[in-house]
Symmetry: C2
């Protein structure tokens, strides 16, 4: 374990910083400043690589995937010893990401480290922008990962969301080990919604390798979907025009739009 | 109507730009660039004032509240005449905001103007960050505005979201004219969730006049809530520690966190 950077004494500060979808173009000045002011930057190694251009003298503590608990412990330890720590998180640390684990572990430790969250653009923001305007009406975000959530609760939420005509944003749709959940989720939604319902599939939004695909609930082939992908299923009024997915807000009920 | 700026001929470009919660600190470089490159900037007047520091020689077309249809028509007209137009929108134009109306009106006109969305931090991102970590698990966004949506559909969605234990983010909670909907929404959620459920109320997130309040479903007084406020109702596992609202992700089911 890293120990030599410890300054000892006095509580520092931990800022959980959202770096957005990837490119520095989408990093807010507030997030950039929190990283620049830090004495220690902690993060999943590929996220640290994405912000390499703004890392200067900060001590860097990179870690591998699935090491979230260790990463947060390092960040809290460093802050507890007086460091100014930035824990970086892709997307928005406040949406299915590191902010929660930090507060959960901080509450168990009853630490007096000052903790702050600097929001970033989440996958739901950046993927919606690439698709057009799918989130113009009430929507749900549902993660299909059953590593930390019982699958029956996920099914219950999918069914409720589909039944009440929410647009549905699916996080963590499919991985090598979790290969059947997305198809099952689509089957649940199809019980409530017609086959022609538009489905948007965005991978690596805003990055050079970005892909954007539009399909329908009836012809959606889940095979190519992976953990870098976000899936958005339209509501009963969502339509496609000129390659864009559009969920009407309802203006057409009150105004002439042409 | 403004006409003298029209350059005539050739299709321009319309970028719908999210300026985030307010301060330029939260404007992404991508959004800033889109505004700087524009020849015409269109927007609700207070949003244009927020970005006044980066407006230089762009022609500014500011308009009043509720003038969304006119504003989009101006933006599409200008782009149709060859201008490079930035239509600015507070928050994220992709979440209950201007992106939808632009695409809806563009589709009615069958325009060939190139349209792009640059995402910004939405109220749900910036308010969650101020509250702690309320959106660590599946959540719904529901607007209580029944100007464009039948109230019975809004009630149905509130009931479905509460019944399936989603965290609930409420947009457009209360205005002078719509003064009973928020209380009714809370009553619907209370039929499914206990009185102690944490409720976070954030007004004017990240701006100098920001207020953050934590209460519970049982003791929530809706009186001070207005249209600049976002309300987040926790799920059955959400708790409060040290003034922060925390929805567990589920790590405690698998890991020791202390």
């Amino acid at each position: 374990m890293e120990t030599d950077y410890r300054s000892g004494g006095g509580s520092g500060r931990l800022t959980i910083v959202g770096t957005g979808p990837g490119a520095l173009d989408y990093l807010t000045p507030a997030a950039r400043q929190a990283i620049e002011e830090a004495t220690v930057v902690v993060g999943y190694r590929p996220y640290l690589e994405m912000i390499a251009d703004i890392l200067t003298n900060q001590r860097q503590l990179g870690s591998a995937m699935m090491q979230e608990v260790d990463r947060v412990a390092q960040a809290l330890d460093s802050a507890g010893e007086g460091q100014t720590v930035a824990l970086v998180s892709g997307g928005d640390p406040g949406i299915y990401a590191m902010a929660g684990l930090v507060y959960e572990m901080a509450s168990k430790r009853e630490t007096d480290v000052e903790i702050e969250v600097v929001a970033g653009l989440a996958a739901l923001n950046s993927c919606a922008a690439q698709l057009g305007a799918p989130l113009m009406h009430d929507f749900c975000c549902i993660s299909l990962s059953d590593l930390l959530t019982p699958w029956d609760l996920i099914e219950k939420r999918l069914d409720a969301a589909a039944g009440a005509d929410f647009v549905i944003v699916i996080y963590n749709p499919r991985s090598k080990k979790r290969d059947w959940q997305l198809q099952r989720a689509c089957d649940i939604v199809r019980a409530h919604r017609k086959e022609e319902t538009p489905v948007g599939i965005v991978r690596a939004a805003t990055r050079p390798q970005q892909t954007v695909l539009l399909t329908t609930l009836g012809s959606f082939e889940v095979g190519p979907v992976d953990m870098q992908t976000t899936v958005i299923i339209g509501n009963s009024r969502t339509y496609v025009w000129n390659g864009k997915m559009i969920t009407p807000r309802g203006y057409d009920r009150k105004y002439r739009l042409d």
